[in-house]
Amino acid sequence: MSGFSGRIALLCDFDDPAAQLLAAELRPADVVPVLDVPEEGFDHLIILSQTLFLLHASKLGGISAKISVVLRRRSAAETHLEWAEGLEIAAQTLVLMTETSVALYALSERAASHTGAAGLAGILLWPQQDSDCPRIDRAVVDVEKSVITLDGVAARSMKIDALNWAALARRAQLTISGGSSEDMRDVLAFSNRASLDRGEEAIPTYVIVVPNGVGLGHLTRMLAIARGLGRSARLIFWCFSRAALVIKQAGYPVFVRQTASHLGIDGEDWRAWETQEFADLLRQCGARKVIYDGSTIDAFITRAIRQPGLDQVDLIWMRRAMWQEGSDASVIEGAQFCDAIVEPGDLAAEADKGPTTHFVPQHRGFSRLVKAGPVTLMQPDDQRTRRAARKHLGLGRGFYCLINLGADHFVDRTILTAQIAEIAAKHQVQLVWAQSPLAAPTPELDQSGTALRQYPLARDYAAFDGVVSAAGYNSFHELMMLYAGPVLFAPTRHARLDDQPARAGYANSRGWADVLDSGSSAAGQFRTLDNFFAEVRNRSGAHTRSSFQSGISEICQVISAPALTGREDD
């Protein structure tokens, strides 16, 4: 926009749609939203309302930046009298500030005319020229219900504050239904006239958010996607997992974060802090996409993306299916914040009774759901041969079984591990106990066998004559697609986890693996283990399981697509 270049401080309420729109409109200038008057470091200071101008007027005298104030018409929260008097007081304040030059702007011709009635002269219109930027969709803003509906399709709707308004306005021509404040009408007029240039970069930056999962599932899937993206983008990890070191070892920059629970602080305080930290990162690295793997999109992500100047950041939600039946489906409403939702395939999808299979969110906004093939970090070519793997692991001759029971946060495995050790010994099978990079030294090490602290494990599966494993997404798919030996699943049952018993049960029904049913009797479990180790001893040869499939390429295409906003046929 003419007249504005260099570094611009936007003094605003970060949730103000006008601020979000203006920050985009001022691109390519470097726009930073601020909550207070910065003393230095900026060429311009734009104050987004006369109320904020009044609030900070006493500090404007000594600053070097050129000052502009956007005069607003009445908002829904104000009475006409309050607005009119506030404007008059602002006008008087300008009169008193004889030493300070302030340029005045308005968001629409009507706003310029109405605010000018307070005796303010020389109000400029913003934007000064109408844009020819085409909008694909049409969106109706219902202020009273706080909902925006796209193309009249109820499901393609979102809460009024779900998205950054510049991102919204870039995609849709906005109209108002029902009553609204004068200011909201100005915001819409502005949004429909603004060019809101997004700009493109040769090598975009993506920020990958890894939540603090129980195991390594989220982290592993994200590493798999990162690997798939290769050098097409600069990748930065924002990681709450305790296994962040794994990401660093994989060669990616990683910001290690703490959850409110880690810090033992109030959730909202943490969220406010995290929002700002995350927004600062997105702004500094010029991020174009945020890729998040998890079931619930935390508000710190969406709030950060809504900040002025971050409208060019798309949100991709990697959402694994196979949730437990009866899980809280409301979190699926997070769809409205996203540009795309990517569901990595699950070989056991037929057994999935969770809400992702049937729950239709009330609001899904612009998002589209892409179901891809399974995602595993390891590919067939990554696997070591049996000999190389045994050498790598330092295993000698004999029978070896990998025990990978997953996280021990939720269930007491003491009896199970004792049983395994006892029966393996009976069959003269040596045990290798997998230790998660997250885990403290486990009691299993006191039993028998060897501890293996390696990530990823799957590269050396060929070293083993059998595997006893939990049925988390990654272990399950790596074992079912990359491993030929006998597998015994010991699924973990817990409300916070995916439906491991269903997944394991499906594999069992297909003859791909045995299942250790924690609900069965001790004798039944003993029998299952006894049979399994007998099979390990027999080296009974390759099992016929699913052929290797990978959705990584498809997912990477979705992520890398320059425009994620194409219409989805309903």
């Binding site: 904020l52 609030l55 008097e85 008087q92 109030d266």
Partner: protein, 761 residues
């Protein structure tokens, strides 16, 4: 007489005590003195010495203990009496202060300090004595002058305080505190022009006094609706970076709540929760509670701001824990929707009301308590006196008629109708002179009442004890503010009959945000079976019904009363010619913005043009727009315009002109219209408030109702068409209209009926 040995010991102990005090070890010094065996009655020296040192070191409790020992031992020096009196006053025990001073200095101390302290001690219990002590006092120091001024203000002697201020102002011209007191004294006397000029002098002292002066000047200018000046002052005020608690409060006061909230949010989030002390946050929160902004306070608390234990306790009672969390999680603007007193509704549940008394039991006697703010020189106050008179005429014994007034200070202009009311022989209760009765509340009501916004909270607190003592059969609140307090207290104390008399314009129409906030409370009370709500015109009743969402007729009309018989017999009307010669058009109103004096003057100028005859304006009244009117008089060439500022007798007033014109933007039921018609005069007025009800609407003598937003040109054209016929018409119809519709007999009977009482035969 001490012997040598005792003298030596005394000297040694004194030295040791001195050394210990020098090292700051006062407690050790005290213990040393106690262990020394030296008794205060026989060796008072070391005790007095240590008491003085402790006082200097601001160890007031220790100093007090030492002085108490001396006093009990019979050592009663002036210094001990003065220090103990000071302490007693600071502790809110003026009677103790009076005792100490009286013991040493007698009833009329001659020296300045004990005299001032004694006057301070007597301020509440014996204001006349306090005034007598202060009246002739000479002071040498500004600090003492301040105390004198403050005590005189406390006892309501504002004229005397003004005289003192003039003296002290000349003697201590550089002391801004004296000036500030002076400005307050003038404000208390409604002498706004003088107050404004003093605040302008305070402004010259620079910050922080400038900030205070700006705030006060803006408030004064706002009274007179001089909006341009208000805005300029407000702008300068906020540019001056005022203290945050004042700035937030002032933003709300100036009708800028969103700006107030923006300041609060900025203070919380940007400047940091820990950037201010608990006392500062508590002050902000208390100010917000006073305004009924309970949701904002809950939000503040939930943000982790340390608002202090008292505020936390109050908020905890107002909201359940879940609601506090919700308030804290929502944006501030949404949390702000939770307001008092609405959050205290339904009243029955929150306050655990006693059962509503059965209505319908009629008696022929019983105590009645009328409640009003003041007896200022206003129409509503005059009507209160008329009502009392009307009730007595209907048989209510003066001994059973009580009138409670929140303030009746003559120097503040609050006692204008006091002689008239006093003459009726009724009981008059000045509840501003009663000790602060908050402690009298039942324990379970203290917190709910503390959550009420001010001034309702203070009004209810002030009224509580009186109602408890009197146990009236009927309580009648007069005008909105008193009606709310009387209604609430009456309901809480189970009074049988409650009458709430609003005037004739609802709070939103009046643009009164604080009263507007009481809609829920009004509505809750209006729905009670033993509560009657009234307004003093049909327009007013409909306006309140609309505001409260009540059905038509839910609010009764209580017409003003005018005792035509008490007015001097109407003189025979001067035979002013309907179309020729000079005609005198009168206006009787306060020269304030809402009376639109400029419109009145321009209308008369237009009328002069159209009628082609001499039109003489006659204005009776006074007010802040006098200078503007005089200027306009010269501009418009009304050389023979008459002004009368001291007329009070109706006959005198209504003999000065031939027709009455009112051009007010805001009106109640204007008594001047009734009185002018009672004297047979033609009347014209804008159709606002209760004007329509107060005007003869048909027949040849009918009044002229002008549109509320009429222009001067249009008004003058309409008046010119109406006036000749109105002057020709017989005056009797006007007199009869007033006598029938606004008789005091009718007023008395209606009200007595609402009290559940029969008129005495």
């Amino acid at each position: 007489m001490l012997n040598d040995n005792e003298l030596e010991i005394t000297g040694q102990v004194r030295r040791e005590i001195g050394d210990l005090c020098g090292k700051g070890e006062f407690l050790s010094a005290y213990l040393r003195l106690k262990q020394s065996g030296l008794q205060p009655d026989t060796n008072p020296g070391p005790w007095e010495f240590l008491a003085q040192r402790c006082e200097e070191a601001k160890l007031s409790e220790l100093a007090h203990n030492l002085r108490r020992r001396l006093w009990e031992a019979g050592i009663r020096t002036g210094d001990i009496a003065l220090r103990e009196a000071e302490r007693a006053l600071q502790s809110g025990m003026p009677e103790y202060a009076a005792y100490f001073l009286g013991e040493v200095f007698g009833d009329t101390p001659t020296e300045g300090e004990p005299r001032i302290l004694l006057a301070s001690a007597l301020t509440e219990s014996a204001p006349d004595r306090a005034h007598a002590l202060l009246r002739d006092i000479e002071v040498d120091e500004a600090d003492a002058a301040l105390v004198v001024l403050d005590r005189m203000r406390d006892i309501g002697e504002f004229s005397a305080a003004e005289e003192k201020f003039q003296i002290y102002d000349a003697r201590f011209p550089e002391d801004v505190r004296i000036l500030q007191r002076g400005a307050r004294i003038f404000q208390s006397q409604n002498n706004w022009a003088a107050a404004l000029s003093i605040w302008k002098r305070v402004h010259e002292f620079g910050d922080p006094h400038r900030v205070r002066a700006l705030l006060e000047m803006a408030r004064i200018e706002a009274r007179f609706e001089r909006q341009d000046r208000v805005r300029a002052l407000v702008a300068e005020y906020f540019l001056a970076d005022p203290p945050i608690h004042e700035a937030i409060d002032f933003a709300f006061e100036m009708g800028q709540p969103n700006f107030g909230m923006a300041q609060l949010q900025d203070a919380v989030w940007f400047q940091g929760k820990s950037g201010r002390s608990t006392a500062q946050w508590s002050r902000i929160a208390t100010g917000l509670i006073d305004r009924g902004e309970l949701g904002i306070v809950a939000w503040l608390y939930q943000q982790g701001v340390d608002v202090g234990p008292q505020v936390i306790a109050l908020i905890g009672k107002a909201f359940d824990e879940g609601l506090i969390k919700i308030a804290g999680r929502t944006p501030l603007a949404i949390a702000a929707r939770l307001k008092g007193p609405d959050i205290l509704l339904p009243l029955e549940k929150f306050f655990r009301f006693p059962p509503v008394p059965r209505n319908g039991v009629r008696t022929t006697g019983g105590k009645v308590l009328l409640v009003n703010s003041t007896l200022s020189a206003g129409g509503a106050e005059r009507q209160l006196v008329t009502l009392a008179r009307a009730l007595i005429a209907q048989g209510v014994a003066p001994r059973d008629l009580h009138v409670a007034l929140f303030s009746c200070v003559p120097d503040r202009g609050h006692a204008h109708f006091l002689p008239a009311l006093d003459a009726l022989g009724v009981h008059i209760h000045r509840i501003d002179q009663r000790r602060w009765p908050f402690g009298q509340f039942p324990e379970n009501l203290k917190v709910p009442l503390a959550l009420l916004p001010t001034p309702l909270r203070n009004d209810a607190a002030a009224l509580w004890q009186l109602v408890a003592e009197l146990r009236p059969d009927a309580i009648h609140g007069w005008q909105d503010r008193s009606a709310l307090a009387a209604g609430l207290v009456g309901a809480l104390q189970g009074i049988s009959h409650i009458v709430l008399s609003a005037r004739n314009m609802s709070p939103p129409k009046r643009g009164d945000p604080r009263l507007n906030q009481t809609r829920g409370l009004y509505l809750a009370m209006a729905k009670h079976a033993n509560v009657t709500m009234t307004a003093n015109s049909s327009n007013g009743a409909r306006d309140y019904e609309e505001w409260l969402g009540l059905p038509n007729g839910a609010i009764s009309v209580l017409n003003n009363g005018l005792d035509v018989a008490t007015l001097a017999a109407p003189r025979s009307m001067p035979k002013v010619h309907p179309t020729k010669g000079k005609i005198r058009i009168g206006g009787v109103f306060r020269f304030a913005a809402n009376k639109r004096p400029d419109l009145w003057m321009h209308t008369l100028a237009g009328l002069r043009e159209i009628l082609g005859r001499e039109v003489q304006p006659v204005l009776i009244g006074t007010g802040p727009y006098l200078a503007d009117i005089l200027k306009l008089r010269d501009t418009l060439g009304f050389d023979d315009m008459e002004f009368h500022q001291a007329l009070s007798e109706p006959e005198e007033i209504y003999s000065k002109f031939d027709a009455l014109l009112l051009m007010s933007r805001v009106e109640g039921t204007p008594n001047v219209l009734l009185e002018a018609q009672a004297f047979g005069l033609p009347v014209a007025a804008c159709d606002v408030g209760g004007v329509r009800d107060a005007m003869l609407g048909s027949g040849k003598a009918h009044g002229l109702l002008l549109p509320a937003d009429v222009t001067a040109l249009s008004a003058s054209e309409t008046i010119a068409r109406w006036l000749p016929k109105a002057l020709e018409a017989k005056a009797d119809a006007r007199r009869a209209f007033v006598a029938q519709q606004f008789s005091t007999e009718r007023l008395g009977k209606s009200v007595l009926d609402w009290y559940g009482q029969e008129a005495a035969q």
